[in-house]
Amino acid sequence: MTELMAWLIAAAQALLLALLAPVVMGVTKTVRARLEGRASGRVGQPWRDLRKLLRKPPTSPTDSGIFFTAAPPMLMATSLIVAATAPFITTVGVAGSADLIVVVGVLLLGTVALTLAGLDTGTAFGGMGSSREMTIAALVEPTLLLSVFALSARVGSTNLGAIVNAGNADPEAVFTPASLLAFAALAIATLAETARIPVDNPSTHLELTMVHEAMILEYSGRDLALIEWASAMRLTILLGLLANLFAPWGIATTISLAWVVAGAGFFIVKVLGLAAVLAAGEVFVAKLRLFRVPELLAGSFALALLAVLASYVLA
Amino acid sequence: MSDGLSAQLLNLCCGLFLLTAVGVLWRRQVSSLITLLTVQGLMLTGIATLLAAQHRNAEAVGIAIGIGALKAAIIPWMLRRVHNQVPDARETRPLVNVSASLLAAAGLTLLAYAAARPLVALAPSASAHATPVGIAVVLLGFFLAATRQRAISQIIGVLLIDNGIAAVAFLATGGVPLIVELGVSADLALAVLVLQILTSRLHETFGPTDLDELRELHD
């Protein structure tokens, strides 16, 4: 019985994340608008954009092939799988079973699908965006895995559920310098992965500065909807992971319905809080030149390496 | 043929065998070299027959006769033919003057004796004490080939080396199986034949067969 229950919770978790993602984007836009003195639109605006785009017909360039049409569903599939298996609401059963290295790999698979689609369009912008995205993804990988190393060294396993449970068990283990450094490194890596301000400006119109946007210039209609939705989900996933790995309180550790609902509530609050902090941070920072980004990532890599060394020296 | 007599005869042959080798270094005229070589061939045959007689081994006697024929008769005959065809081969212009050559010969013989000591200690038969002579002749042959300029002196050097090796083989082991001897002899005959043709061809195309002039071919 609990097997079926676990699968159901995983599905529910994926659905929750899918519904929550556009709201998270809405919150970031609203907070940002408010700080810039603008009267921002309602938080539900991204939902309206998605609904309208879903109704519009997709177009694909004449020379593109299967890679162009398959990229949006692949990007969404990778986001759904990570949403279903990572511990956001509960750490029990399927929902908490994902391994951090697998999560990093699956997210990278989504990025690769998009970069190949960028190249398949045959346009200069598509190639440029894809080349830059791959360069940044290649440099983010060491940071992600080293911060994983720092976290797993403390707990002894890279299983997400185990890490979150360990954080739940003794809260003060979360505040050791090792995990704080790991949090900083992972935060910078998140900004790079989800193409936020210091690395890439999501709301730019000047194609030459784009990284993520340049690859999806050719998409329209429901393809574009899927990509926007999946990118929003990736942001929510990474913010959720940041929240649960470093502030694991309130996550359900048993399968009882009450706990799960409470876990969901806590999760939503944490993610929206983090999104607001992210948006506020973005107002104060300008986009870095592309060849300054490796320095940023080298810095975060150094943080992650310090985290690992600290976890040995102190732990 | 009492034992004492055969031993003395054997020592005599070995002595002469070594002496002829030194003589080859000493003399300049090619014709005298050839006669010395013939004498050495005879001495080698003597050693072979004496040892064969000591061991009463018919096959060894056959080998001795074969060697005698080859070394004392056929090869000198071939050398004489080459000598007659190539008139200017009178003088073997040595790179190292004769006195230095003789001193070197002495040094080489000493070295042969020192190097052969473990060999002599091992060898079962009494005649083995004379093996250093063979080694000395090998070294002398080598020295001759290395320091004489005429092509024909190279041939004679090679022949000396072969005689030396055959002597060592006979003295150390008291007789060499027929097959080995046949093989060696055949090689030797062939080598001399080739060298002979080479020298005559050199003579036809270049005139004097002075090896130093041949250096221009190289570049």
Partner: protein, 672 residues
């Protein structure tokens, strides 16, 4: 002879021999087909021999009179079984591929010499793991080196770069062989010729000697494996050799370097001390990083794949190095896990690298060029090759559903294992290794996205690529076989756990702490499990559902010209090429790559201000080669020049040398 391993191995060798004779005798039109099928049979037989050995049927035989001095001694245990399996599988795939690739015209890969040497090459590769005495091992090793050299030179008439490549290949392989020869003979002089004898006597041998032997063997085996400081032959030989030979060399022959290291390091010398394996791990890390950095900026497809082989071998050596370090510092469980990761990566790499090289061969066969900047637009013209190459690239880039990810995951788990970090070297080494593996994986993904993206997608960049047509069926079938093998290794990796336990046993190591439940890859030591099957199923179901839902519910897809900002049509020149794709990464790794750029501007005659033409040329040299090998070659050349004066052509000089040598030897004999 009823032992299954023996019968399988003998059938493999016999069919290879008959393949060779067929290669010599048959007319051109039949040659490829017959040799291909016989090669396939030999491969399958080798595979079965490996499987039999891995399921416990160890077998050995002694044929004293076959080789005059020491006789041939063959023995197949778990370790050699693993590599027999690997080589058999690759040979079978390449066999099917040769039927289509070697063509009917009888020259190039189809020529008599190539068809004769190919089966000999595979037979010698099957013999190397089975060798059980030093002379047999060295004989098979040299036979493999010579036959592979001949195969590398098959197309020397058509391309002039084949000759320098072959010279590099011959020089480095023989140098490697010489060091292995010296090492093993030195060991044999102490512990005897036969491997079993060596095993018993090595505990008594002094560690200094064992260290010396290991270093010599490491030099030779690392150069055969293509580890970085000893790698210059690899990108040249693989780029110039015909593709099916590059596949055999890159997937199978290179692994025999790793086999040699395992056999000498763990088995014969009994595990050795920590610093041995630290050097191996350092070598691995260097070749992983340098290999992939060179691969990402390579524009020649086969050169890219060759450097990627260096990188994957680096990862395997990293695994082997850490396995040795863990074993010598007293953690057998983690050591077994690291060894399992390294072994699994050898077979995974064999799988996807064969697929990639055969794909590259199919592309070269169709378009006639290897330069990624000329290719493009092949996804429509060569759909099957593109799909299969993309599958191989997915595995090679170590992305989740691929098999490359499985072995990399295992390698990272063994390094992240908290129990393993006693002692400062391991405590510092493990995180640095994780960082290097991660950076290599990241840059590896960029490499393969570039290879697939610029090589196969969008519009063709040259008429050669535009005129491409799909390859014959047998080539596609071979690639499909390799892809199936990769898929099997990706979805049910736990199949290999019993085999790895057998290999660990034959190396006198503990069984790896891995569960054998087929669906998941479960590590019993630490709570780390990974469900490749469910992950793949989940991905496929999700993608399928989303695609179908979109097509049925939403409006029909519209095809339109790509958005070109309103003015002129988008031409192929506007696409990103391989060079421009890797330019940001090349700029980031600028100091390690040090590209050579020259720019010449030709002005009009009348005035210096009017520019007639600007020519910009950039070439990325192999820096290690320039810094390490060029001075070496110059020194050797100068030595040669000096030696030339020694031989002026004077007869006496030569005889004098011989005489002095003789005298010196005699004097030495007298003095001692």
């Amino acid at each position: 002879m009823t032992d299954p391993t023996a019968t399988a191995l003998v059938t493999a060798l016999v069919s290879a021999a008959s393949g060779a004779t067929a290669g010599l005798s048959l007319p051109a039109s039949w040659r490829a087909r017959v040799v291909g099928t016989l090669l396939f049979l030999s491969g399958v037989a080798g595979l079965l021999a490996g499987l039999a050995a891995l399921s416990g049927h160890d077998w050995q035989t002694d044929l004293p009179d076959l080789l005059p001095l020491a006789g041939i001694k063959l023995a197949v245990d778990g370790l050699s079984g693993w590599f027999l399996l690997l080589i058999g599988a690759v040979t079978a795939t390449v066999g099917v591929y040769t039927i289509g690739y070697a063509g009917r015209d009888g020259h190039g890969p189809g020529s008599r010499t190539a068809m004769f040497t190919l089966p000999l090459f595979t037979a010698s590769m099957l013999l190397v793991p089975a060798a059980a005495s030093v002379p047999t091992f060295l004989l098979c090793w040299e036979l493999m080196a010579v036959t592979s050299l001949l195969l590398v030179m098959t197309e020397h008439r058509r391309h002039e770069q084949v000759r320098p490549a072959s010279v590099w290949y011959a020089a480095m392989t023989q140098a490697g062989f010489v060091t292995v020869l010296i090492g093993l003979v030195w060991l044999a002089s102490i512990a005897g010729l036969d491997f079993t004898a060596i095993r018993t006597t090595t505990p008594g041998v002094s560690p200094a000697v064992k260290g010396g032997v290991f270093l010599l063997c490491l030099f030779g085996f690392a150069s055969k494996a293509g580890a970085v400081p000893l790698h210059p032959w690899l990108p040249r030989a693989h780029a110039e050799a015909p593709s099916h030979v590059s596949a055999l060399m890159s997937a199978a022959m290179v692994k025999l370097g790793v086999y040699g290291l395992l056999r000498v390091g763990f088995d014969l010398l009994g595990g050795g001390t920590g610093w041995w394996w630290l050097t191996v791990a350092a070598l691995g890390a260097l070749s992983a990083l340098y290999g992939i950095v060179q691969a990402v900026v390579a524009t020649d497809l086969k050169r890219l794949l060759a450097f990627s082989t260096s990188e994957n071998i680096g990862l395997v050596l990293l695994g082997v190095g850490f396995a040795g370090m863990f074993a010598s510092s007293g953690q057998p469980a983690v050591a077994a896990l690291a060894l399992a990761a390294a072994l699994l990566h050898t077979i995974n790499h064999a799988g996807f690298k064969t697929l990639l090289f055969l794909g590259a061969g199919s592309v070269v066969n169709a378009t006639g060029t290897r330069d990624l900047d000329q290719l493009g637009g092949l996804s429509k013209r060569m759909a099957a090759t593109t799909a299969l190459f993309a599958a191989g690239a997915l595995a090679a880039a170590a992305l989740p559903p691929g098999n490359g990810f499985v072995s990399e995951w295992l390698l990272l788990q063994s390094l992240l294992h908290p129990g393993g970090h006693t002692g400062t070297v391991l405590a510092l080494g493990a995180p640095v290794a994780v960082a290097i593996i991660a950076l290599t994986a990241g840059v590896g993904v960029a490499t393969y996205v570039k290879a697939v993206g610029t090589g196969f997608l969008a519009r063709p960049r040259s008429s050669a690529a535009a005129g491409a047509h799909e390859s014959p069926l047998s080539m596609i079938a071979a690639m499909a076989m390799a892809a199936l093998a990769c898929a099997a290794l990706a979805i049910v990796p736990a199949l290999s756990v019993p085999a790895i336990t057998q290999v660990a046993a034959s190396l006198r190591l503990q069984a790896p702490p891995m569960g054998t439940n087929l669906v998941s890859l479960h590590l019993t030591g630490i709570t780390a499990t990974f469900w490749p099957l469910w992950l793949t199923v989940g991905l496929v179901v999700a993608v399928g559902a989303l695609a179908v839902a979109g097509r049925t519910v939403g409006k029909a897809r519209r095809r339109a010209i790509a958005w070109d900002c309103g003015d002129g049509p988008l031409t192929a020149r506007m696409e990103y090429t391989a060079t421009s794709y890797a330019e940001p990464l090349q700029r980031i790794f600028d100091d390690t790559l040090a590209p050579e750029r020259d720019l010449d501007v030709t002005h009009e005659e009348e005035s210096a201000y009017h520019i007639d033409a600007i020519r910009y040329r950039q070439r990325i040299p192999d820096r290690i080669e320039n810094r390490l090998y060029r001075p070496l070659i110059v020194a050797i050349a100068r030595l040669g020049e000096a030696a030339r004066r020694l031989a002026p052509g004077v007869m006496h000089r030569y005889l004098a040398y011989m005489l002095t040598a003789l005298i010196v030897v005699l004097v030495a004999g007298v003095i001692r």
